[in-house]
């Protein structure tokens, strides 16, 4: 009965499910840094193969990995949706996505039709079943919170995003003629960056900001309707992309304003938090939301007047800073907590405290490195000689989080091997 009604509470997936996605995301971040180091400014110029490769390393590589890891962990907690056999489900989506991404990057570099086809096939196999499964479980929930509703809408946008991506690949590969490529590209970008990545972050923030930092809640009606409004806007954009591409910038601007409002509401909440400590994660959130507000403002301005190449690059850097900052904010909470939580639940007396897994000083140093990366990348938009430095810093930043995740995993296994255990028989 409980499974059917979505009420399954004994559901935290094994720690390896989350860590495998987070570690993969970090390795992609290192790869993106190396790519930026060698490719330089062309990696930020719209529509060059170098830029397509960098963007997809960051979105399919880094963001998708962290977001799937977080979804596996958070769906049971936020929405009572536990997936059956999560380890198998994780592996079944992670490897096809990995190969699909590698095929896609190679396809961008070589413009080979066969590689595009393989990319589409593998990404489809990796993404569609898991997204559809999560979405259908969410859909069947008897009651919704703003978070679960928002997650559902963001997964719906992900499905549309993959479909539009597939359509574009079909046009590029010459298997299909219908559709205007620039209009579809615009739609693909908006579905991915605004409808999937940003909306998932918005949905998580509805819950996480209030609860982890003890802040006033988001306005009720706003939290209830925002995900639907954003998704509705993007659905209208979908129709416009097919029939009246000239309307797309206006619709996109409306979506951008919604996200700008969210960023400002979140910054306001963080400044009203009752928990007094300013740990690194608060600043990662602030940096992320500040960058989102600025990026969305620039997006709207760019739709009213043409942006210079440098400002277009600034927009790219700001949006990326938003997404990566929030990923790091979440990772620095989730990784130490899960290490402690799983060991403690397994009854180990020697379960390390969160600060023993990753010390707050370590996270603060990473914050300094990450902020420097953002700053250098923003300056590089005006002085291209700095792109290799920005690439090195990006690489170092992801190496930093990769080492932290690896160490946490290592510590987890070490305690499991050597720790003394309390008999939990009376509770299980």
């Amino acid at each position: 009965m409980f499974q059917n009604s979505g009420l399954s509470l004994d559901q935290a997936p094994p720690i390896s499910v989350v860590f495998r996605f987070f570690l993969a995301g970090s390795l992609w971040g290192i790869a993106a840094g190396i790519w930026l180091f060698f490719a330089g400014a062309p990696a930020l110029e719209p529509s060059t193969p170098e830029a397509l490769i960098l963007t997809h390393m960051l979105t399919l590589g880094v963001m998708l990995s962290f977001m799937l890891g977080a979804l596996f962990q958070m769906l049971p907690v936020l929405a009572g949706v536990a997936l059956h056999d999560p380890v198998k489900a994780a592996i079944r989506s992670q490897y096809p996505i990995l190969f699909g991404t590698l095929f896609l990057l190679s396809a961008f570099a070589t413009a080979s039709g066969a590689l595009y086809a393989f990319a589409l096939l593998f990404l489809g196999i990796g993404l569609l079943p898991i997204a559809a499964r999560m979405l259908s479980r969410l859909y069947r929930l008897p009651s919704h919170s703003p978070s679960s509703r928002g997650m559902g809408f963001s997964l719906y946008n992900l499905l549309l995003l993959v479909a539009v991506g597939g359509w574009m690949l079909a046009l590029l590969g010459g298997w299909m003629q219908r559709g205007d490529l620039p209009a579809l590209k615009q739609l693909h970008l908006d579905l991915g960056l605004l409808g999937w990545i940003a909306l998932l972050i918005v949905s998580v923030s509805f819950q996480v900001i209030e609860m982890f930092y003890v802040t006033p809640p988001y306005p009720k009606r706003y939290a209830r309707w925002m995900p639907a409004l954003l998704t509705g806007t993007l659905t209208v954009e979908f129709v416009a992309a097919l029939n009246a591409p000239v309307l797309e910038p206006w619709i996109e601007s409306f979506a951008a304003i919604l996200l700008m409002v969210h960023a400002l509401l979140t910054l306001r909440r963080l400044s009203m938090r009752q928990r007094p400590l300013t740990d690194a994660t608060v600043w990662f959130w602030r940096l992320g939301m500040g960058a989102l507000a600025a990026a969305m403002l620039l997006l709207v301005v760019g739709n009213l007047t043409d942006l210079s190449t440098s400002l277009t690059m600034v927009l790219y850097v700001l949006y990326t800073s938003f997404a990566l900052s929030v990923v790091l904010a979440m990772a620095y909470k989730i990784v130490p907590f899960l290490t402690w939580f799983h060991l403690n639940a397994q009854g180990y007396f020697t379960a390390p405290m969160m600060h023993e897994v990753i010390h707050p000083q370590n996270a603060k140093r990473h914050l300094a490195l990450h902020s420097t990366t953002v700053f250098v990348a923003l300056v590089a938009a005006f002085d291209p000689r700095l792109w290799p430095l920005a690439g090195s810093l990006l690489c170092a930043s992801f190496a930093w989080i990769a080492v932290n995740i690896y160490r946490a995993w290592h510590l987890y296994l070490h305690v499991q091997k050597t720790g003394e255990r309390f008999d939990m028989g009376s509770f299980s």
Binding site: L7, S8, G80, S145, M211, L277, N344, A345
Partner: protein, 146 residues
């Protein structure tokens, strides 16, 4: 929404007490921190008692299940009780780093526990229990003492 409103309100008020104790411990005001933490611990443990002695049995009686969600919630209550003891030790030793580290674990543990209760268990209680029984339950829970 009677059960949800009543219990969720208690969660939020415990969060406030928790933040207050953490603020005092962070600034090294140990005597005040001890008192504030005691307030938080008492309120939290009383809330658990209300659930374990009144709400969960009512839910279990209605749904015929004692092994489902309520058992997981009881297990998590035990985890929180374990942390309460450890934080009290940290206060006694005036160990700021240990306090803040344990507080972080406590906060996330409690929040994910609260999310599950608020979004699923309380919502279920509100759906399956008849209105009269809910009023009666709230009245009984009001009377629970530590």
């Amino acid at each position: 929404m009677q059960i949800s409103n009543y219990m969720t309100h208690e969660h939020r008020s415990c969060d406030g007490l928790f933040a207050e104790a953490e603020k005092l411990a962070a600034s090294g005001e140990w005597d005040a921190a001890e008192k504030a933490f005691l307030d938080f611990a008492n309120e939290t443990l009383k809330h658990f008692k209300k659930e374990e002695e009144e709400l969960f049995p009512a839910f279990e009686a209605k749904t015929g299940s004692t092994e489902g969600p309520t058992q997981v919630m009881r297990f998590e209550h035990e985890q929180v009780r374990g942390l309460v003891g450890k934080i009290a030790e940290a206060i006694e030793k005036q160990d700021r780093d240990a306090y803040l580290s344990l507080a972080e674990s406590m906060m996330i543990l409690l929040q994910q526990h609260n999310m599950k209760e608020e979004q699923m268990l309380y919502a279920m209680c509100d759906r399956v229990l008849p209105p009269a029984e809910k009023s009666d339950l709230v009245e009984k829970m009001e009377k629970v003492e530590l």
